[in-house]
């Protein structure tokens, strides 16, 4: 079923807010196997809204609109939709009652704010529409079926729209779907986007059902394999050989086969499984690697110490980097990375310590040591390995890449046991 998303609101066109509703709804539609071909944002303007909805109704089976259901004169989504579908607006007694209750409560708690009569325009609904109560605001949601098309109107604020979609729209749509959709994720690190693309080109060229879609993230590539069929069992059967093939091709570079699992989560899981603790010694990334690790709920079980040693003094005092190393090799050197990793293990008592030191710029670069030079160290089982990287881009891009590669290196060290690499 071809589905189209329309967000209504001049505030989105002015860049005042980021359109997170479309991302949320797109993901939900993908999960339901609905094909979203277009997302459109249009302002609170009658003519342009009409033409946008008309176009959507022509080319799609279902249109989901968010926003413009409020009480003000600018809020036109319901009025325009009803007119286009030739449905009169009638007052819904139940909605009117809920509205009266909600507004009375609101006035009681916000003594300085008055409720104006235009609020009651929210009780008007297109005749025959299915009404979705709004438990977090005043505008009800609406589902309209006419001439083989489905139009769904939802309130704009995400905290009203999301629970309404979750509780009412999602089950409604699931019931109506003829086919089952099932997808499986394969997440890869340590190989670049274009190399992955090349290595799966033959599979993509031949694909019909299932399909493979690659998504590039910094330092990672995600492949989503999606199958459509009569039931989930059949979908899984279709996906299985593709997953097997991808596992054969990318082997140890696959860090997750789970939609939700991040690289840092995979690392935390590995550490937990092996009963290991982790410390991090960061200079140029300034805490970003720690922040990624801490993003994993339960990271506290394995991650004990993070040292952000941005000054030479901190490198010496917190990590025991030698004065002579800082003087002769400099803070951006393999030797410094090595001593940071070793010191990190020593001072924290953790089993593994990853260290990173580099030049993120924009200033400070020389011919011998250009901006983007990054050294990483990893200490594990008393051995330390170091690696040198050269990243390009601006300061934040260099740091983002350094963080992504540090996580990939850390995963590799845990997986292979550092002794094999050292």
């Amino acid at each position: 079923m071809i589905t189209e998303l329309i967000s209504v609101g001049t505030e989105i066109l002015l860049g005042n807010i980021v359109n997170t509703n479309s991302a949320y709804l797109s993901e939900k539609c993908a999960q339901l196997g609905l094909s979203v071909y277009y997302q459109t944002v249009v302002g609170d303007n009658e003519t342009r809204m009409k033409s946008t909805i008309c176009t959507a109704l022509e080319r799609s089976d279902m249109v989901i609109l968010t926003g413009g259901l409020g009480p003000t004169k600018d809020d036109l989504t319901k009025e325009v939709t009803a007119e286009l579908l030739e449905l009169p607006l009638v007052e819904d007694a139940h909605t009117r009652e809920l509205l009266e209750h909600y507004l009375k409560e609101y006035e009681k708690n916000n003594s300085q704010r008055r409720i104006t009569a235009n609020n009651y325009k929210q009780a008007l609904v297109p005749q025959g529409a299915l009404i979705l109560d709004n438990h977090n605001g005043t505008a009800p949601g609406l589902i309209i079926e006419k001439n083989g098309k489905t139009v769904i109107l939802l309130p704009g604020p995400p905290n009203e729209m999301k629970p309404m979609f979750e509780e009412e729209v999602f089950p409604y749509l699931r019931k109506r779907l003829p086919e089952v959709i099932y997808s499986q994720m394969i997440k890869i690190c340590g190989i670049g986007e274009s190399q992955v693309a090349e290595e799966i080109q033959d599979l993509i060229d031949d694909q019909t059902n299932p399909t493979i879609a690659p998504y590039a993230k910094t330092g990672e590539v995600h492949l989503r394999i999606t199958a459509k069929s009569e039931d989930e069992k059949e979908c899984k059967k279709l996906i299985k050989p593709i997953v097997r093939e991808l596992k054969a091709r990318f082997g140890k570079n696959i860090f997750a086969t789970d939609e939700e699992k991040s690289l840092e989560e995979a690392i935390v899981d590995m550490l937990k499984d092996q009963g290991l603790t982790l410390a991090l010694a960061e200079s140029c990334t300034g805490g970003e690697i720690s922040a990624r690790i801490v993003n994993v709920p339960g990271a506290s079980d394995v991650f004990t110490h993070g040292f952000v040693t941005y000054s030479n003094r901190a490198k010496r005092k917190c990590l025991g980097v030698k004065k002579s190393t800082l003087k002769i090799d400099g803070p951006v050197s393999a030797k410094c990375a090595k001593e940071m990793a070793k010191g990190g293990c020593f001072f924290s008592g953790a089993d593994i310590c990853l260290s990173i030191t580099g030049l993120a710029g924009p200033g400070g670069g020389t011919k011998e040591l250009p901006v983007g030079t990054v050294f990483m160290g990893c200490c594990y089982n008393g051995k330390v390995i170091t690696q040198e990287y050269h990243f390009t881009g601006n300061r934040s891009k260099i740091r983002e890449q350094a963080t992504a590669h540090a996580l990939a290196l850390l995963r590799e060290c845990i997986m292979e046991g550092i002794s094999k690499k050292g």
Copy 2:
């Protein structure tokens, strides 16, 4: 000039990524006085992309496309645009050279990664297009003028698109505009969005030229005052009384009046001006505050130590938090925050230390200490203050808010001198 934004990418239609590019470009267009009537997202599909671009060219004067300029077969934006505008694709020698250099550097530093031939398709450009070098990636940007319409193609990754827009597209567009648009930014922290909105309602109700547009960020509100006139001098004259009024209303909560200045940059500037050094002691934010500070070029002059003390042991060993405090008050307590801040100053020798400890969830909450409870401490001049916060949302949302409020608290402490607050 009517402008339309088109984002190309199936990953947006599948909800894999949030379309932040459109929000960024919309804000920039508003700043330039360009009217954005539509934002559209379309997938990597030739037919639908063609029809979307055609529609946009019919109803708008300028179309800005992002995404789909990469090396893979899916990347079609340039090809489709060139075909619609009837422009042949020709190889640009300069772009080819840059690409070769970039890819060689990349291969050198990532020995296990091979560069594939399809990368060179990025050196093909529509004949006559203005080429914008990409300093943070491989796909160049393109500006095409034909039949009175302007089409601008930009790479999809925000860290490539934004600097390109800022450095090349913005000045290009500014020169072409008939009227001069001038805007001034006022950035506020430490006051909520709705309070700011309420306090400027009277100014917004009366506005014609200049206009005030509020933008809410986590923990910050940005107000952009924009004037249109014949010349910049006249614009500045129009803006001046509004800026004066806003400064009178928000006083010390204004941390920047500069478009580019971030809160962390304002803090680093203040520390430099006062010759102070900073340490950070983070638990629940896990390095995020450090990472924000390190994001400022030159932060190394003032930021010496970051302690990410995620375990109780680390809090004791690195910061000297008492065993009894952890046992009786617990790690999420005002007392722990106080000892962390004090210990941070002591062990680092820094003048100021901000500490943070809290419960980001999802697990671990109790009735007395619900998820979202965060304590911060700040030690300066031998005195320590603490503050308690309660944030809502999921783990990452709580940590994001905690980081934003920590920076605001840090700024306040530096500004007021902690003795006044203590």
